[in-house]
Subunit: 290 residues, 4 copies
Amino acid sequence: MHNEHFYTLTASCPDQVGIIAHVSGFIAEHGGWILESSYHSDNDSDSNANRYFMRMEIRAASLSCGIEEFCRKFAPLAARLEMDWQVTDSAVKKRVVVLVSKQEHCLYDLLARWQAKELNIEIPCVISNHETFRGFVEWHGIPFHHVPVTLDNKPAAYAEVARLFQEARGDCMVLARYMQIIPPELCAAYPGRILNIHHSFLPSFVGAKPYHQAYQRGVKLIGATCHFVTPELDQGPIIEQDVIRIDHSDSVEDMVRYGKDIEKAVLARGLRYFLEDRVLLHGNKTVVFR
Amino acid sequence: MHNEHFYTLTASCPDQVGIIAHVSGFIAEHGGWILESSYHSDNDSDSNANRYFMRMEIRAASLSCGIEEFCRKFAPLAARLEMDWQVTDSAVKKRVVVLVSKQEHCLYDLLARWQAKELNIEIPCVISNHETFRGFVEWHGIPFHHVPVTLDNKPAAYAEVARLFQEARGDCMVLARYMQIIPPELCAAYPGRILNIHHSFLPSFVGAKPYHQAYQRGVKLIGATCHFVTPELDQGPIIEQDVIRIDHSDSVEDMVRYGKDIEKAVLARGLRYFLEDRVLLHGNKTVVFR
Amino acid sequence: MHNEHFYTLTASCPDQVGIIAHVSGFIAEHGGWILESSYHSDNDSDSNANRYFMRMEIRAASLSCGIEEFCRKFAPLAARLEMDWQVTDSAVKKRVVVLVSKQEHCLYDLLARWQAKELNIEIPCVISNHETFRGFVEWHGIPFHHVPVTLDNKPAAYAEVARLFQEARGDCMVLARYMQIIPPELCAAYPGRILNIHHSFLPSFVGAKPYHQAYQRGVKLIGATCHFVTPELDQGPIIEQDVIRIDHSDSVEDMVRYGKDIEKAVLARGLRYFLEDRVLLHGNKTVVFR
Amino acid sequence: MHNEHFYTLTASCPDQVGIIAHVSGFIAEHGGWILESSYHSDNDSDSNANRYFMRMEIRAASLSCGIEEFCRKFAPLAARLEMDWQVTDSAVKKRVVVLVSKQEHCLYDLLARWQAKELNIEIPCVISNHETFRGFVEWHGIPFHHVPVTLDNKPAAYAEVARLFQEARGDCMVLARYMQIIPPELCAAYPGRILNIHHSFLPSFVGAKPYHQAYQRGVKLIGATCHFVTPELDQGPIIEQDVIRIDHSDSVEDMVRYGKDIEKAVLARGLRYFLEDRVLLHGNKTVVFR
């Protein structure tokens, strides 16, 4: 990490000889100084079908042209390589819409990081199904929207969430222990843009009350999982996971408490990878260039 | 830990006021110096049904009587408290029968610990369904029994395993990546005495090829589980678990390799807890007094 | 952990036969139900000089007498055993005075835990050498005191800190990245009551700029240490430590950022152990009954 | 990781625009399929003095020429970029000479990995200052050399070690808890080729009896460090480190025992990184492309 102004090129394409040469050659022709670069070739299948992933940070000041011109010139090469690609600008903060319920640990953690400028983001608003954190959020100068969710109003409620997200020009939605199931339409509308923190080490203990399930099974470690939300509950691509040790003396309440520490840490790491364009989707899996 | 001669009393009983007082009072009356003691009250249910677990190490030289007399005198108190209990003697090495197949990592690890006297055990024999490690085992002066297991001979093969275990007066059987499913009758014959190392972080990825399952799901950590073998495959009480970080660049072969390091470490820790009488069964869970 | 009303007895004394029997016998005589108990015998030296440590949680409702009478009756036994001892009441919240400077991570983390009632404490006030967090702290309804510290006013400044701490009837002082060296007189006045979080894995990288030192040395893990403050800088008894992995690609700024996550986690764990009377001093070391 | 035949190009040079483009362009011209590639730019100092590090795995079968011709053609480019560079061949096993004393844990661990072909190495011989492991080593078909080291014979003994290493055409020397201080001349003769496992989390507890030092200081984690040996004792570039949690109940003997598990794991990881040409020296630090 560094504090310079840079552009991040991320791309994936069918693997073949010479991809790095082509792309790095193009960048060098335009004077581009590469600050960091990562590559991954998916070696699963036979080589004809391998997929190639890359991420490059280019110092903005070194480029002989602006970002638009760079992209315009890069497009034909990308097309020839059949690339999915994008270029982001470190000077443009990503806009993160946070959804919370009544638990504070993830919200406090995210706002502390935002406040300390540790996360290079805007938080255009916080949305909650409860009023609990209005004061806390507004004290930070961030708009707070209360969108109650009941058994009867779900379609209307999530239409409102979607409207607020669009109005906020959000880049991603972070479910910071939101405790509500996002309807499939909303998931489908923003693939790879809704991040959730699940309070178990998936795929163990899918669904409700994972700590109760963990307690019943007598596991010796519990965990948390940051993943993209997809229409299939708790089945989306995993971005980051971690665990913490427990033992026989820990009650479900203890697990909940320990779990919070893992949840906020895993969410913060997963979100940072996402914000720095380090997470590339590969089917139902992720490539994470840490 | 220490190198003194000591007795280990382990017990569980219905919880009530005064258990520690009764037991420690009895020990003090006989001059017993307590080197280490651990207690656990299961707080789950309502207090009338709580269960209490304890483990105490008593310096042998401090007792005013021998172990047999100590046990004889303790029995009435234990009966009054409705205890399941036992006393073991640190001077009597436990007899560990090791079952292996064709993978060396757990076997080498166990024999290195035995050789270094790090584990206070006898290994009366190693049993394998392959000849692979005969030379290595016999070089250490340990008898090696080849008991082939085929689709047709299972009942006979496991009858032979049971016979060898009895002949060896084994205290426990360690499946050091034995790769065969122990038949229910054998599991049932030795409850809490057969330890397995499973190459996944249970309850994730039960059954065959857990690393392939982990690869497909795209998890960011893989693990291993040391558990008691019960007739239900991979469902026995968990003794110890651990995990290791992986990422998108790791193939199934990499996972297998990393996994070996976790497997042998988790097996060694779980076995040590068992050998030191630190593992008490509680239904399908364990209390582990580390 | 549990949510019952209980008393916690902690004690240390010269080791001898029968301590548990005496103490647990006394508790049982008064009807005391023991919820959790931990013991440690320091085996270092020859047995005559061994020291014994204990911690017991007793359900308040089970005792046949109140806490004052319990203590009065226990005193003669404690005297006979030459005990250092205390009994605390879970219904009486400890009063934690927090000292901060300009970094938010530990402060936000502590207030989130306080807000969520995860820590059973009062925060009578926050003291800082900067005005930075006045608004944030006061929003939580907690008094904020600005006590500037300059090269010239140190004695007066720390006299004011001591006065505020006394006025607040503080049980402990938490230096939540306070970034100032506490003068020896203040350390000496509150032994075992001032907790600091040091941003290195002590004893590595004592003193200023530990992350710079770690970077220069090229270590592969960095850490944090929660310890009691003593007159000797960074030499006090260690309560808790942890580490996080770094690599060659991490700059000092990255280390500072990762370090924050470890610092707040280690401080929160260390503080919890202290608040639950799990930390017993043993010379310049600690016994921590987790 | 994969099982293909490949060449590994590692290089470092002053940083400038276009390095990846030049090198990957050269490889692509010769048909080279890049299996894995890693880059690191040292961002410490001002950019004019930055140093650039790279590692690329090239599928052997994809190259239009042999390795010698590839190197001959690459040399002028490398010279123009002022590179330190080398190309290794995955089909040529590195030759690892192991030095041991009387502790088995690292030796058993390395031989198990060698036996399982988990490490792609030859072990031309084991050298020891004791006869302890002659039988074990020779059983594996590996020559064993006993070179006693006394206060009087050090120069002669290490001359013999150097002679055996040369005779064995060793690529590296692994001190698998060798417990002797290698004389500066030998260190200087093989820079970056002698790996040691130190039984502490350096720079803590330099020198003798680190576990005793850790016990005295009351740390809550102990560790191990794999590093290159240099003439300054315990000051060489660090390759890998790890830690394990301990507490007040652990004696020095317990620490020694736990430490062994960390020592062998850290040594195995560090050695693997070295064998796969993932470790590049950068002054007294390392770049490790994991």
